[in-house]
């Protein structure tokens, strides 16, 4: 059980690191938000679930925290992205003229 928890923790930490990398690597606000949100939501999920599995006393609390993150994190990111879009933040355009991937 605890080994499974550690695997989850490493998985989550890797995703958090990828999310942080994505925030640096991506060209504009929208890409950065999607990198930050998706990667860190999954990363935080597995990190906290890993802590819950490694220490079964905290499992229920960990699941509650995951539920709370599942509600708040996407809402916050969608609000940020919407505000940026409504304020006409410049979108990244590739050199060949097509809109960003």
């Amino acid at each position: 059980m605890s080994i499974l928890g550690y695997i989850f923790m490493i998985f989550g930490a890797a995703f958090l690191a990828l999310g942080g990398f994505g925030v640096f690597r991506m060209p504009d606000v929208f890409n950065r938000i999607q990198a930050g949100t998706k990667a860190t939501t999954l990363g935080a999920f597995s990190l906290i679930l890993g802590v819950g599995l490694a220490n079964p006393d905290w499992l229920i609390k960990a699941i509650l925290i995951i539920v709370f993150i599942a509600i708040t994190n996407p809402v916050g990111s969608s609000v940020l992205a919407r505000a940026a879009y409504k304020k006409n933040v410049k979108q990244y355009v590739k050199e060949d003229g097509k809109a960003g991937e």
Partner: protein, 257 residues
């Protein structure tokens, strides 16, 4: 009404100080004459000689057991809280005052007839419904933080800030929302005055300002640690209403004349 309340408060405080200064010997209350209170004995020496054993006869200090030890000096399971709201409660009163002065400054700068600031665009469906789900949880969590301040990490300041964040979410998610700023001000004033009243009661019953005069109970119980949870609830209400008032001040703008 306001003036009557303030006059009564000032008269009560004056009577309190007068009795404290001149009738210390004959009064049934535990006032010490001016200059006689041994504060370093109460805090520093008491801390150095710290002895949590129930019977003072045995020299060996007994171990504190969570959920069993009775009548410890502060009775608070959270050591930080026992310092912040018991030994250094006067300092916390000062911190609350600093926050009050900051809120007062915001109120003065942003005074006048106010209406809601015009938003650039309507809040989205996702935000509205997300806030509706999260709001109750946030308020409950804030109240939990300050009612359990003497048991778990957290306390009045963090709990109050979370409640104020809930108010901020209400402002963000609804363009027409207007908080009842007057209720915030009343809650703030009442909680702040009750903190001072608790301190004066400690002065009357124990001889020191903000003395923990209630029985401390079993370490780890919700109803333990004497006045610590009461004071933290008051601080939580005060901080929550103060920061909510500041948020309300910033979210509104002056009525065009």
């Amino acid at each position: 009404m306001k003036q009557a309340v303030s006059i009564v408060l000032v008269l009560l405080l004056g009577a309190f100080i007068f009795t404290a200064l001149y009738f210390a010997d004959s009064s049934p209350l535990q006032f010490k004459p001016y200059g006689d209170a041994d504060l370093s004995g109460r805090v520093s020496q008491g801390y150095v000689d710290k002895n949590v054993t129930a019977d003072a006869a045995s020299e060996e200090p007994a171990a504190v057991v969570y959920g069993e030890t009775k009548n410890a000096e502060t009775g608070s399971a959270n050591i930080v809280t026992s310092v912040v709201v018991n030994y250094r409660s006067f300092d916390t009163l000062g911190e609350v005052t600093v926050l009050f002065v900051a809120a007062l400054g915001v109120g003065l700068l942003l005074s006048g007839k106010r209406r809601r600031q015009e938003a650039a665009f309507q809040p989205s469906f996702i935000l509205k419904h997300g806030v509706r789900i999260v709001l109750g949880i946030m308020v409950i969590f804030g109240v939990y933080l300050f009612t359990h301040g003497h048991l778990t990490p957290g306390g009045g300041f963090s709990g109050g800030s979370i409640i104020a964040a809930a108010v901020l979410l209400l402002y963000v998610s609804d363009n027409a929302f207007k908080a009842k700023v007057k209720a915030f001000k009343i809650a703030e004033g009442v909680a702040g005055s009750l903190y001072v009243v608790a301190g004066l009661l400690g002065l009357a019953l124990g001889g020191y300002f903000l003395y923990n005069f209630l029985p401390t109970g079993v370490v780890g119980d919700l109803l333990s640690a004497g006045i610590v949870p009461i004071v933290y609830i008051l601080i939580g209400l005060k901080v929550g209403s103060e920061i909510s008032g500041v948020i309300a001040g910033f979210a509104t703008e002056e009525e065009a004349l």
